[in-house]
Each structure stands twice: as C-alpha cells, then as structure tokens.
Amino acid sequence: MDLISDLANLTNSTLVFATALIFGAMGGLFSERSGVFNIGLEGMMTGGAFAAAIATWYAEKAGYGGASPWLGLLAGIVCGVLFSLLLALASVTLKANQAIVGVVINILAAAITLYLVKIIFNGAGDTDILNEVFSKWAIPGLSDIPFFGKALFNTYPTTYMAYILVPLCSYILFKTPFGLRLRSVGEHPGASDTVGISVTKYRYIGVIISGVLAGIGGAAITLTTTGNFSHSTVSGQGFIALAAMIFGRWSPWGVFGATFFFGMAQALRNFIKLYDWSAHIPMEFLYMLPYLLTLLVLAGAVGKGVKGPAAAGEPYDPSKR
C-alpha cells in the first residue's frame, strides 16, 4: 500500500463516518437557529437508527430487495420527526425547559428502542444483521480520477446526500426568505413577531427539520457502518454532532469542516490499527478529541470565543416583548 492510496482510503472512510455527523449537526443547526436548543439529537439519531434497522429488516423479509434500505431511511426520518415533535410540543408550545426535554428525549429514545428490539427479537439486545444495506456506488467517470475518485466518488448514497446537503443548507439558511425568518426567530423572536413572523410556526419547522435530518443521520449509521441496531449503535454520535455544530460556529460550511475533522478522528481509530506503532498511542485521547476541542473553542482558547443564536434556549413569551 502506498501513501496516496492510504490517504484516499482514509478520506473515504472519514466521509462515511462524517455522514451521520453532518446530518445530525445540520439538524441541530436548524433547531438552534430557530431558537430551540436541541440536546435531544442523540435520542433522535438513536430513533432513526432503530427505525431504519427494523423497517429494513421487515422489508427484506417481505422481499423488497434493494429497495429495503431506502424504506429503512424513510422510517428513520419518520421516527426522527416523532421525537422532534415531542421536543417542539414541550419546549415551544408548553414552554418547558429545552435542555431538560432534550435529556428526556435521550432517555426515552434509548429505552423505547431497546424495549422494542427486545420484544421483536425475543429478548435479544440487538437486531439481526441486515443483508440489504447500502452498498458503495462508484460514479462512472468521476470515480476514475486518481485519488479523488477513490476518496470522494466511490461511496454510499447517504454520503452523496451529505455532499448535497451542506450547500443546500447554506443556501436555505442564508439566501432564502425562509432562512432569514428562521434565523430571525432564533436571534430576536420579539422583533420577528412584531413584523408578523409566527415564532411558534418557525420554531416548529426548525425542530421538525432537525428531526428529519437527525433521523437520516441515525439511519445512515445503521445502513452503512454497523449493519444492525443495538444499544451501542449511536453511542454518543449525537453529542459529537452537537459538538461539531458548535465547533463549526453555527454555519453550514463551518459545521462541515468540523464534522470532517471529527469523522477523521473516528476513521483514524480503525486506520492506525494497521500500523504497529499505534499500540503506543492511548486511544482514549483520540476519542476525547472532539469534546476537548469544542470546549477549548467555547472557552475562546482557540480563535475567538463564539456565541450561538441569541435567543436559543429561551421559550418565547409574547407578553415580554
């Protein structure tokens, strides 16, 4: 193996790991830009991963063949949206504390999914291994380019979707009236309300988009990386996505950079095992890296200190306008 081909492989698996994080973090971005603080990302991704595994499993048994993982992806979206509705209902309509509701979603998602897995699979803690998962697509022509072909254009459909998602989110948030309104609701809901933008409506939309994207993110883990669902399928990737959103300073391209970096931290774990010298490197520090960096960025030790959307975390109360 030569260096170029190693690097291409590393980039390829980095992007595969980053896919779930990109979807999760973009989900967090939409929610937080609309002013709802979403630490339930982990739970929504768990829901997506679970629903994808179950739906794919049933579809595969019903003989849908290659369409099964797509049905799984759809189920992941539905499940993510269900959890996001819970967050929107409690934190927007009932004005409950957003962080607490986020914790509730994480607890409920972890428990409900495992409960259902145990019911469906007769007490087993994980689902059967799926046969019909996504396989890598090589884009004709593009995949023949040296290095880039192998690194970028021979990968899973979900990763291709992530490529499109980043510029799309950037466009929606910063170039459309919808994006402007969504952001305004997160920065200054009182002013938005005064000019006739419904704070409740935009926050619901922001949170639901969050559920859709987090659901896809979770489904991507099941359908590309693990091939089944257990309690450890998502294991903290929702929190890494949250970290990536902050590390990327609440902007889609920044978030993409952060997810690429954190995805590489995950890919490296498998990658450096190929080399003998890796035994001397404590893996724990590689695991710790995303969280440590995010903390440093927040503390202003790396670059300027960052501030999120001004009104994120606060329920909107029209009487205090």
């Binding site: 607490i100 428990a111 495992l114 969280y291």
Partner: protein, 370 residues
C-alpha cells in the same frame, strides 16, 4: 426572567404526584401495547423491592448514588445553573477514589478510607468547578461545557484506570486495599449480604448540609440570590462569578461523593466502560421531581432507586424488559418539566375566557448559548 430554582417554588406538591401517576400509567400503556400484563409487572416490581431483607438492602444501595447526584443537580439548580455534568463529576470522583484506594499501601483504615473519600470528593468538585469557571469567566453555557466534560471524564477515567491500576487480563481496576473500604460488614451480614456501606448515612448528612448551606448561611443566601436573579444580585454587591464557581464546585463534590461510595463501598473496583453509568442523568430526574429541595430529593431518589432496582424483578417474573423503568422515569421528567400541561388540566377554566398562558413556566431563560 424566571430561573431554574423557581420552577418548583411556584407549583405545589400536586404536580410531582400527578407526574408520577401519569408516568406509571404511560409505563402501563407501553407494557400493554407490548403485550405484557402491566399489573403483574408492577406487583413484581413491588415484591422485588420489599421481598427480602437482602432486597431492601440492595434497594438502599441503588438509592445512594441517585441521592448524591440528585443533591448535586439540585444544588446547582438553586444557584441558577443546570449541572448536566453530574455524570462526569461522578466518574472523576470514582476514578480518583479508586486510584487512591488501590495505590496507597499500609495506611490504617481510619486514615486511608477518609483520605480516598476526600480526594474523590474534591476531584469531583474540581471537575464541576471547570464548568463553573468557564461559565463565570468565559461566559460558556454550562450545559454545553458539561456535556463535553462528561465525555472527557469517561475517556480520561478509562485511560487512568487502564494505565495506572489495571488488573491483569481484565477490563477493570485492581481491588482497592482493604483499608480503603467503606463497606459496613456487620450491616451486610444483618441484611443477607446485601452490599451496605456508609454512603446512605453520609448521604443523609449531605441532605442536612444541603439545607444548612443554602438556607442558614450567608453564602447560601448569596447563591440563591444569584439563582433568582443574577443581575439584581450583582447590583446588590454579591460576587456573582464567585458564587457560580462555588456552587458548581459544591455540586461537583456531591456528585463525586456518589462515585466514591460506588467504588469504595459497593464494587471495590472500577470497570473500564464504553458508556458512563447514567447516575448523573437520573440525578436530573431526581432533582426535578424533588423540587430542588433536600427532602424532595431524598424522596425522589427513593422512588427512582426503588424503580431501578425493582425492574430486575419485573424482568424475572413478568418477563418485561427492564427498559420499561427507564421509559417510566423519562415520562415522569417529561411531565414535571412541562407541568404547564398538568396545570392546564388541574386548573378549572374560567368560562368565556381563553387562558392566555398555559402554566407559568418559562424556566431556562438563562440557557441562552454563549
């Protein structure tokens, strides 16, 4: 600006009670949907908790860490901070106690055990103080920094355990020295070898300390003032930054103590885990249900401890997956957190007038990021 600490002061005992009932009903509904008999499941839970003296002892053992993390989260809530990092402080306290417990030899028990306890508690306190410092000096939202610190604590603990005190060929630490043990042998014997330790007694003392610190000292008054309204507190000459740091430190000490007893009292070793034990998150549930009041927290920890321990019985007798109890706990916090929902049903509506605001909840206004 309504603050965390006020969430419960406004409401009464009714909301937590209704939340518990609704939570149990949700659990029953989920069991019914899953094809289980919820009545026999709940009675199996009850029998598991009170079935024998061993079970009662083990229930108390399960309650202890929840009491500590509940006190930890509740204390921070009172000062207007959401300590979602009790999980990490718990891990760090546990790790520090393990290292001191394993590495120091030849000390008499009267020195070794208290030393390990104090080191563990302080380590937890310092871990909490990091979030407190970032909040007070750099304006970093404590929820975010605590989430990051939780994961860092998990991996740091795994690293320290596996590089310093690893038992050969196992994924756990060596046993702590006999002199560092905080178990109570005679009490364990009296309760059929249930794992009893000093934790629950120190926990009771902490319940009293929680009350005295907050309501009977000048510092506690200042902490609560900051929790009610940081701006007003600043104007009246209270050192807000210092108060935040102090409250996160004390909060971390409570959580750290929970970790200390888990290793010095119960297991006597620490495992290298892929995920942290979750007591910190349950502590949030306990504190919320208990209205951030020491007695309420004690009662909350008893309820959740009993539910958690009893879930094994549900699994054994009624074959229900133990996750059902996590669902019940999640539902209870949900109903407590969005108690506007409960109040909406409890309050009689005035005829002819639409209620403008549902409940009086808008806690969390201090959660703005940055």
């Amino acid at each position: 600006m309504t603050k965390w600490s006020q969430i419960f002061i406004k409401s009464n005992l009714l909301v937590p009670l209704v939340a518990i009932v609704l939570g149990l009903l949700c659990g029953a509904l989920v069991m019914w949907l899953g094809g289980y008999n919820s009545w026999s499941a709940y009675s199996a839970l009850f029998h598991k908790v009170f079935g024998s003296s061993y079970d009662i002892g083990e229930t108390i053992r399960t309650i202890t860490p929840l009491l500590f993390t509940g006190l930890s989260v509740g204390f921070a809530f009172r000062a207007g901070l959401f300590n979602i990092g009790a999980e990490g402080q718990f891990m760090i306290g546990m790790t520090a106690a393990t290292i001191v417990g394993v590495k120091l030899h030849g000390l008499p028990a009267i020195v070794h055990a208290p030393l390990a306890l104090v080191v563990g508690a302080l380590a937890g306190g310092l871990w909490g103080a990091i979030a407190g410092f970032l909040k007070s000096n750099r304006g970093v939202n404590e929820v975010i920094s605590c989430i990051m610190l939780n994961w860092i604590a998990l991996y740091l603990s795994n690293y320290l355990i596996s590089s310093l005190v690893l038992e050969k060929g196992q994924q756990r630490s060596e046993m702590i020295q006999e002199s560092a043990s905080l178990s109570i042998g005679w009490l364990s014997k009296a309760l059929d070898n249930a794992r009893m330790d000093w934790g629950i007694f120190i926990g009771m003392i902490c319940v009293a300390l929680f009350y005295i610190l907050l309501w009977r000292t000048k510092q506690g008054y200042e902490l609560r003032a900051v929790g009610h309204n940081a701006d007003a507190a600043r104007v009246s000459g209270i050192n807000v930054k210092g108060s935040m740091l102090k409250s996160m430190m004390i909060s971390g000490i409570f959580a750290g103590l929970g970790g200390v007893f888990e290793v010095l009292g119960v297991f006597h070793y620490q495992v290298v885990t892929a995920a942290s034990p979750g007591y910190g998150f349950d502590g949030i549930a306990v504190a919320l249900l208990g209205g951030n009041h020491p007695i309420g927290i004690l009662l909350g920890s008893v309820l959740f401890g009993a539910l958690t321990y009893g879930s094994a019985g549900m699994n054994f007798t009624a074959n229900v997956p133990t996750e059902i109890v996590r669902i019940v706990i999640g539902c209870i916090i949900f109903f407590v957190a969005s108690h506007g929902l409960i109040q909406m049903f409890l309050k009689p509506r005035k005829p002819g007038r639409k209620p403008k605001k549902k409940g009086a909840v808008d806690g969390g206004s201090d959660l703005g990021l940055g």
